[in-house]
């Protein structure tokens, strides 16, 4: 019986294991100079937030004896080799909970019969990412003509805040989503994130995929595309990251047409992974109230009489109930008038919860 403030944070970052040649990967390792380029594990997601390794070498200490070969002392350039930011194609909605990228949970979000979820805040990164909520079969964010839309932009609600790009939540969302989004008992809900997709297409004939986010982790050869578990394709430049418009370029003062970061340049992608920073990781943050028990009954009553359910609203409503109770004891006649005026409810005091 409580109102609990919960939150879910999604990050598009996973650990990698240099010893594993996965059966299905988006990138196959290139072995150069005695070490493995980091590759994804079987799939580019993990359940729960992953441990990120400070040992830059993806190869684990399989044989920690004097017979093993010491890694290179080039810590600076290899420090992120055991970490990967999976590539996600632009324009493709990815579920935060079970979408198969970054940290996931095992099953979808389902609201139990004695519960209620109120989503009152969303935020994401990078700014050109977008979030949309679905409840059962409905998307929350629509275009004015009720057509499909990406949703709430990271320029509107960035995460984290403050951030290096000095983008702040717009005024109208500073107190979250108002009114909040109610997820009623028995419903399934989730959040999609999608990334900017200039030239949103996959053209295998030309070998181009435009990626909305993620970091190259392998040489530009030997690519298996998702859904094509056949022999690796030899594609000359298979990964071309979306360049314009892009938030990095703007943040670093470069023109939208030029490569915003060195690592966005396809020819350099493979070797400068050490430049990976927190700001390169796509993220999303969903904040919600989990209401159950007696407070769930209060919330339902508030819905019945048309009051918006917020954390403050529930508190105020319960406080008002107490006040009405006290005043009704003093002067029974006025209570119903005040109650009707404030709530529109015509129920008598004795019927209140």
């Amino acid at each position: 019986m409580a109102v609990r403030r919960q939150a879910y944070e999604w990050r598009n970052v996973i650990p990698v294991d240099g010893n594993t040649y996965p059966s299905f990967v988006y990138a196959i390792p290139a072995q150069t100079a005695g070490y493995f380029k980091a590759t994804y594990p079987d799939l580019p997601y993990v359940i729960g937030h992953p441990v990120l390794n400070c040992n830059p070498y993806a190869t684990p200490l399989a044989n920690p004896t004097y017979t093993s070969t010491a890694p290179s002392n080039d810590y600076v350039e290899r420090r992120n080799d055991s970490i990967a930011v999976p590539l996600i194609a632009g324009g493709m909605p990815i579920g935060l909970f079970t979408g198969g990228h970054g940290n996931n949970i095992k099953t979808s979000a389902h609201v139990l019969d004695n519960q209620m979820v109120i989503i009152d805040s969303l935020s994401c990164w990078p700014p050109d990412a977008n979030l949309n909520i679905f409840v059962d079969e409905h998307y929350y964010y629509d275009a004015p003509d009720f057509s499909a839309i990406n949703g709430l932009s990271g320029y509107t609600v960035p995460f984290p805040e403050p951030n290096y790009a000095n983008i702040f939540t717009v005024e109208s969302f500073k107190k979250g989503i108002d009114p909040p989004i109610y997820i009623m008992p028995g419903s399934t809900w989730g959040v999609f994130i999608s990334f900017s997709a200039f030239g949103n297409f996959i053209n295998q004939a030309e070998g181009f995929i435009f990626y909305g986010t993620g970091k190259q982790t392998r040489a530009a050869q030997n690519v298996r595309l998702p859904g094509i578990p056949s022999a690796p394709l030899n594609l000359p430049l298979p990964y071309v990251r979306n360049r314009k418009p892009t938030w990095e370029g703007k943040a670093e003062g470069q023109s939208p047409d030029s490569p915003p970061n060195p690592w966005n340049s396809p020819s350099q992608l493979a070797d400068i992974k050490s430049a990976l920073q927190d700001k390169d990781i796509a993220r999303a943050f969903v904040k919600y109230l989990l209401i159950d028990g007696a407070d769930f009954l209060v919330a339902k009553k508030m819905m019945d009489i048309g009051l918006p359910i917020t954390e403050e609203g529930i508190q105020r409503f319960k406080q008002d109930l107490t006040r009405w109770q006290v005043r009704a004891d003093v002067h029974e006649g006025n209570i119903d008038e005040e109650l009707i005026r404030e709530t529109g409810m015509t129920t008598r005091r004795s019927a209140l919860p």
């Binding site: 729960g48 990120l52 890694p71 002392n73 420090r79 403050p162 107490t322």
Partner: protein, 655 residues
């Protein structure tokens, strides 16, 4: 009600490094060396020094001090981090402690062991941060307000280029040819930058204010031993070693000091302190972590040459230093590592070929050949290496006060010598050994090099190192009430909690508030216990594994290859939280508010208090009496009205 906060932090508490050279203090370390004099037990056999290997162990890394990733631990009862606890002062209701309670007493005098009458831990790195579980007492009510923790996902540290080792060189001038005539009075250490330009007023080490010097403890008068090349495997190292020359005043083995000339005749070993208890390194830590004699004796396979522990309690005010008397020449590493004579023709420090006839002889201690003002004296030079542990570290200084002769009637005038400190990358020098007057000049050499051997200390990698600090913890905060964790995932599974990015601490500049705030608050009811758990997802032990792999010969590494080193004295993670504690009558109000379903915080408690006070009475039944009176008054009024209207009519009243 009180608005309380708790600030937890953890970070590396030791200088961490891998030694690429031998140091002469590697024998007889730790308490094993305690009972080596007559009457104090059997002398322990030191570790056999032949077949030395520089293993490149990662020294100073305390695996127990770094949390295992993805494993939640308590901020209160785990062994990690500190809450900045201090001993209570005179206002404490606790039982007074025994002994010296001043902060200075925690380190320093070994004989002062701080104890306190209660079981409240007062050291800030003890294995638990609080003395009892967080149990809310019967007359209390706790409202957990908010929290924050260090942000950051990727473990990327700040990497800064600096140099790896300082070199300290000091000379002692001892009367006579028997150095054990003399005695060290004190050894002091400090970190202060000497400014020859005079702007800081500290032109030389002698100008350093006395308050900055901290005495170095010498644990039981460790001997500085110098390896005798004639030693064999089965010989007694205690006899076969040529010893240093000094003993501290309080060395237990020289209680019979003043026996006369020279002490060695009477079986007292000459000593020079070589193992220091540094200001931030407690005796207990030395005792716990110093090298022990391996079981099974001194077989070659069990030699752990440079294994030793300088693990200390976290002390944010003082660094811990690793100071070594390196046996640079005996390193099994080839040039350019070691000490080299240099030619003085060029202003730079150019190592020369050791076979160069100009190099002459040199060593760490030589007689002065009884000429000039040094006639009748022995000069001893010692070269120490000191690990650099932080970019903000001041220049280390060493001050030694000694009697150049000491006999039955005590010592003569106290001599003071200061170490010369070399820093920076590249070779350290020039260093002129005290035997420059010896007949080691090459008469055939050019005149400008005939001043004798001048050498320099050359460290691996040109003495360059990258200090790594500010690794990001990738941490999550969770709150536990009794045995239930507060945060869960949308699929109702356990969650790690709230990340430092969602609820950062400290708050960075910006016009926005953090994304996450704990609204509504969490109530901890009387009888319930609570805990704040922190989960670190950065695998710091993996960094130690990496360094071990790179630098430890047993793992295929080489200590010369170490180019990165974790710095000392930075915060890996910080967690802050604040809460309200309501006690006594206010706790009862909290219970009442809870019963009414109203959020409990100072405002609502005040609000309810005002409501009670508005009743204009403090008796619990006052309000009910008031209600009854009101109703009676109302009925009476109605009766009066009825009577009044009967005579005047309702229209008259309305007027």
């Amino acid at each position: 009600m009180r608005h309380l906060s708790y600030f937890w932090r953890m970070g590396p508490d030791t200088a961490m490094f891998q030694l690429p050279f031998f140091y002469t203090g590697k024998w007889l370390r730790g308490p094993d060396a305690y009972s080596m004099s007559t009457g104090q037990g059997t002398p322990p056999a030191p570790i056999y020094p032949i077949n030395q290997n520089i293993l490149g162990n990662l020294i100073g890394w305390d695996y127990r001090a770094w949390p295992e990733p993805r494993k939640p631990f308590s901020l209160f009862t785990s062994r990690f981090g500190t809450a900045g606890k201090r001993p209570r002062g005179v206002f404490s209701y606790l039982t007074d402690g025994l002994g010296d309670e001043s902060a200075d007493s925690f380190y320093g005098n070994l004989k002062t062991v701080y104890t306190q009458g209660s079981n409240i831990p007062i050291t800030d790195w003890s294995n638990k941060q609080i003395s009892q579980p967080n149990l809310v007492k019967a007359d209390q009510f706790v409202v957990f307000n908010n929290f924050g923790s260090t942000p950051g996902i990727l473990p990327n540290p700040n990497l800064e280029d600096t140099f790896a080792f300082y070199t300290l060189v000091f000379e002692l001038r001892v009367a006579g040819a028997f150095p054990d005539l003399a005695k060290i009075k004190s050894i002091d250490f400090c970190e202060a930058t000497v400014d020859p330009t005079g702007q800081s007023g500290v032109l030389t080490p002698a100008d350093i204010p006395e308050s900055l010097w901290k005495p170095l403890q010498v644990p039981f008068g460790y001997p500085l031993v110098k390896q005798d090349s004639s030693i064999t495997f089965n010989s007694d190292p205690l006899l076969a070693f040529e010893r240093g020359c000094f003993a501290l005043d309080d060395d237990p083995r020289v209680v019979q000091d003043g026996l006369g000339f020279p002490n060695a005749i009477y079986g007292f070993n000459a000593l020079l302190a070589n193992a220091f208890l540094y200001p931030a390194n407690s005796f207990n830590n030395i005792k716990e972590t110093a090298q022990r004699i391996p079981e099974g004796g001194f077989n070659a396979g069990q030699i752990r040459v440079d294994e030793m522990g300088f693990l200390g309690d976290l002390d944010y005010s003082q660094g811990i230093v690793g100071m070594f008397a390196p046996e640079l020449l005996s390193a099994n590493l080839g040039p350019p590592f070691g000490t080299y004579p240099r030619t003085v023709t060029a202003p730079g420090y150019q190592p020369v070929n050791p076979s160069d006839p100009n190099m002459g002889d040199y060593g760490s201690g030589e007689y002065t050949d009884f000429i000039n003002e040094d006639s009748g004296y022995t000069k001893i030079m010692q070269v120490l290496s000191l690990v650099r542990y932080s970019l903000t570290q001041g220049t280390p200084q060493l001050r030694i006060r000694y009697y150049d002769s000491f006999g039955k009637s005590g010592g003569g005038a106290v001599q003071t010598t200061y170490a010369q400190t070399f820093s920076g990358v590249g070779p350290h020098g020039p260093i002129t050994p005290p035997n420059r007057y010896a007949n080691n000049l090459n008469p055939n050499a050019p005149l400008e090099v005939q001043e004798g051997p001048i050498f320099e200390v050359v460290y691996p990698n040109n003495n360059e190192i990258k200090l790594a600090r500010n690794f990001k913890p990738n941490g999550f905060v969770n709150i536990t009430v009794n045995d239930t964790r507060y945060y869960q995932n949308p699929d109702m599974t356990q969650s790690l909690g709230i990340s430092g990015d969602a609820a950062p601490f400290p708050i960075q500049p910006g016009i926005a508030v953090p994304q996450y705030q704990l609204r509504p608050n969490i109530y901890i009811l009387p009888g319930q216990s609570y805990d704040v758990e922190y989960t670190v997802n950065t695998d710091m032990p993996a960094f130690a594994d990496y360094l071990t792999r790179v630098g430890n010969v047993n793992f295929g590494g080489d200590p010369v290859n170490v180019t990165v080193r974790p710095a000392f004295g930075w915060d890996f993670a910080q967690v802050f939280f604040d809460y309200w504690i309501f006690e006594g009558a206010e706790a009862l109000i909290c219970q009442k508010l809870l019963k009414l379903g109203i959020d409990v915080h100072p405002d609502s408690v005040d609000w309810y208090k005002q409501m009670i006070l508005n009743m204009e009475g403090l008796q619990p039944d006052t309000y009910e009496r008031y209600l009854i009176l009101m109703k009676e008054w109302k009925q009476r009024q109605e009766r009066l009205d009825t009577a009044y209207h009967r005579k005047r009519g309702i229209r008259a009243r309305n007027r």
